[in-house]
Symmetry: C3
């Protein structure tokens, strides 16, 4: 069980670090800029979550493993940049895998702190989305989360699914992995089938930029 | 006394949530975007204040009431959007009411933590302004606080007025409400009578954007 | 020894406050805007560092001295604005002095919290750079740290130099001051001799803005 949490944590960290490298190289930042964006993307969400709950010193300052994993992922991604480039949807994939893992990590930390399911889901969504928001703001892009994709919605519904599964006889570790799969699956499905949120505007004028 | 703090807290939360809805709908965000902006606007200032003082887990994670109030305000504001639209000055009003309440809430938390009046006023100003700054940054607007209105000034002078009133025989609860009224009144007066801050530039060239 | 830390702290605070005033006056903000930018620039990095480590209430809320120093620096900088203006490189100098002092202050806090050298260097870099990043974002400039200068690199190498010097018989206070000098010296040298980071892009196309 302990192992599953650790593996999920490492996979999410790598996925977000690579997504940071991809956005930063798209902007042609220098090597330190690429490293900083990768660190911010992979550590930003968990850092805000830890500060909100009061887990201090925040996790990455006491577990240097995360920095080594991220810096390793940066080096590998930069060395194999030409292969990454041909995967046209690679940024989207790494970002989606990252939010799936990070949503459940954040929910888990909230549960450990004794907080209510609604608050845990909010913390999971923050853990999953804040690093990517910082990445996009620092790279001067409109944050992915505010684009037309179902993003936060996937985190929220996946988190709600996890709490429902906990009420079934399913072992906790499976419910946890199902939560990760739900978030990833819903975001992929939403993009694949062009599922959009209902319109809330009475007079449906053209969208503003 | 306890009740007055709670009522002020709830009214400020609703006012800021509605101001977030108004800015987000102006940008025609989808329903989740509107909800997120409302949450960030209403919870952002208090969250930063709690993290600065070390009140963790931060207040909204242990008191889910705030999230319910904000989500309720979002639903009502979206349902009655056509009425809100006709109130041309509604965003300005809700924002002003919000900063009045939040300034005093922030000052009160600083006093409870045993901090000096100058620092309490800074914390009150942060509580009142940070949510709105985040709202405007996320919606790609120039933060209201940096526009030509007397904004932070109202928070600072209102807070100073509260500490002066505490030295009079006036009961604390009245001084507290007077502080709220002072912040709101000064901002309304500044806009109504076009009161501006003194010019600090020696050669009065044209203003840059 | 205690005195050296205090003097370094005060000099760094003044340097960053003046750098904030210079950027804010360039944008012709009003007097409160100038004061807020100076406060954010001088206190932003240390605030994030304190929140990451869990030093709460954060240092500036319990030591009002910092606010008085910053507000004093703002008044003096505004009064003598015409002289500052003639120093064409003054913003660059104050910013560089600030990062030199703040890098070592941040590293010192990390060491006191018992964290590893790699993490201490990261905290020093955050302390040195976050205030300036906030200053530039609030003033709608591209953050200095992401421009073509060797910036974070100077913090990282200066910090690494400090930890190496600690292994020599040199007294700790001298190693500390050498660390400050290393950061400042490396940034000045990088700009003076146009030292740039190695190119990581395989097909060296034109840089994007």
């Amino acid at each position: 069980m302990e192992n599953i949490y650790l593996i999920v944590d490492i996979l999410g960290t790598i996925a977000f670090a690579v997504s940071g490298v991809l956005v930063a190289m798209e902007k042609r930042l220098d090597i330190f800029g690429v490293g900083i964006i990768a660190l911010v993307t992979a550590l930003g969400g968990g850092t805000l979550r830890d500060m909100l709950i009061g887990i201090t010193p925040v996790t990455w300052t006491t577990t240097p493993m995360y920095m080594y994993i991220i810096l390793g992922a940066v080096i590998i991604a930069v060395l194999f940049q030409s292969r990454l480039k041909y995967l046209r949807t690679s940024l989207f994939l790494f970002d989606t895998i990252g939010i799936g893992f990070y949503t459940m990590i954040g929910i888990n930390k909230g549960v450990e702190a004794g907080l209510e399911p609604l608050i845990c889901i909010a913390l999971g969504t923050i853990t999953a989305s804040f690093g990517g928001v910082l990445r996009d703001i620092l790279c001067n892009e409109i944050p992915v989360i505010f684009r037309r994709e179902v993003y936060a919605t996937a985190c929220i519904l996946g988190g709600a699914g996890y709490f429902l599964l906990l009420k079934t006889p399913l072992p906790e570790a499976y419910a946890y992995l199902m939560g990760v799969a739900l978030v990833i699956g819903m975001r992929l499905a939403a993009v694949r089938y062009h599922i959009a949120l209902p319109n809330i505007y009475k007079n449906a004028g053209p969208l503003k930029d």
